[in-house]
């Protein structure tokens, strides 16, 4: 499925079920997303993690609503299934979409300016370095005799300086590799946007609308 279409579908559905209260549709959606993940060979470990986490938080939220609020069991069921739909839909999207394919699709199909598509991508590809940097900053401070907490301005100060430094370097490197803002580019690979993608989007949304508004509980 075309990445841009897939992203739109996920956001539209997540948005819509935030406002509606039909637990059967939620249930159907979560089953479909789960099946889609199994079909895409998402690892069992990942699936368990994607199930255990919302299980804990959804239960805790439902329990809290029951104790501290006035509500119906129907509504609790809606909230409980809603959280699962969020996580499974998000899981399906993030586990089956390559950031590069998404960036290319946003550039080619959604006409997002290339500076955004590749700017995002360049930063995302730095993710491992960014993760290691936070640990490095904390350890380096410890060696100077200071403990950095989540509420220490210095932690963020260091992080922001690193971010500024790297963004300067990356932008200079992209320019040096011939990237010019707003200039036309060719595409090494074209991301197809087929009629099938539009049909899939339309039909899926139609099905959800039918479910939501035909009087299901």
């Amino acid at each position: 499925m075309n990445p841009t279409i897939k992203l739109s579908l996920v956001i539209l559905i997540a948005f819509e079920i935030s406002f509606t209260q039909v637990w059967t549709v939620n249930l159907a959606l979560l089953i479909v997303s789960l099946l889609l993940m199994i079909y895409a060979h998402v690892s069992l470990k990942r699936l368990l993690w994607l199930t255990a986490v919302p299980l804990f938080f959804a239960s805790a939220l439902v329990w809290s609503l029951k104790l501290q609020g006035s509500t119906t069991p129907h509504f609790l069921g809606v909230i409980f299934t809603r959280i699962f739909v969020y996580v499974y839909l998000g899981g399906w999207f993030s586990q089956t979409t390559q950031p590069l394919a998404l960036a290319r699709s946003l550039e080619q199909n959604a006409k997002l300016p290339a500076k955004f598509a590749y700017g995002f991508l360049a930063a995302f590809n730095l993710m491992p370095k960014i993760q290691a940097e936070v640990a490095t900053i904390k350890a380096a401070a410890l060696m100077r005799g200071q403990v950095l907490h989540i509420w220490s301005p210095q932690l963020y100060f260091k992080v922001i300086l690193a971010a500024m430094n790297w963004s300067d370097q990356l932008a200079a490197a992209m320019t040096s590799h011939g990237f010019v803002e707003g200039a036309p580019r060719t595409y090494a690979t074209t991301i197809p946007l087929r009629h099938r993608d539009w049909w899939l989007l339309g039909l899926s949304l139609l099905l959800v609308q039918l479910g939501l508004f035909c009087g299901l509980p």
């Binding site: 996920v10 956001i11 997540a14 935030s18 993690w49 994607l50 986490v53 919302p54 804990f56 938080f57 239960s59 805790a60 939220l61 329990w63 809290s64 609503l65 104790l67 501290q68 609020g69 006035s70 509500t71 509504f75 809606v78 909230i79 809603r82 959280i83 969020y86 996580v87 499974y88 839909l89 998000g90 899981g91 999207f93 993030s94 700017g119 995002f120 360049a122 930063a123 730095l126 993710m127 960014i130 993760q131 936070v134 989540i150 509420w151 301005p153 932690l155 963020y156 100060f157 992080v159 922001i160 300086l161 971010a163 500024m164 790297w166 963004s167 300067d168 932008a171 990237f179 803002e181």
Partner: protein, 187 residues
Amino acid sequence: MKNWHLRDIILVTILAIFMGVIFWALNPVYTLLAAALAPLGLQPLANEILLGVWVMAGPLAGFIIRIPGAATLGEFLGAVVEMFLGGIWGASTLISGAIQGLGAEIGFAATGYKRFGWGTLALSTLTTTIVTFAWDLLRSGYATYHLNFLLLLFVVRLLSVFFFGGVLTKLIANLLIRAHVLPTTNR
């Protein structure tokens, strides 16, 4: 008014990832806090206490990049990162990210992205709290809570956002201004 350039786009993204990573490191704390509060039915409080850290990406990006849309984009990209890391709110983080960012954005937009002092930050704190709370009324069923509990949640959220998104952000900005990496137009 400034335009988005390549460097700004990369900077806002790296910043968002950093904030996502810091927030992620907090996950065990969040889970423990939530688990401790859950039996009493107070789990949402854990959310409220830590929410300030999560919405910090918005005001920070707004402060540093100073281009209309910076706060929204910073917060939204943070949400994208969180979803790819496998956050507990999955796809809905994309929507809440955009909403949280908009909340902070209103504060900056109200002053035309020209003033970066306490007034702007306090305003942005307030708008963030109100907008995100309205979203949780819908998404997480907060609307069905008793009024007292709801007030408690609101106040805790306001304090958290005020501390992290306001006070702490200002302290960080002061350091950055002293280091000459941010302009001093800070009234």
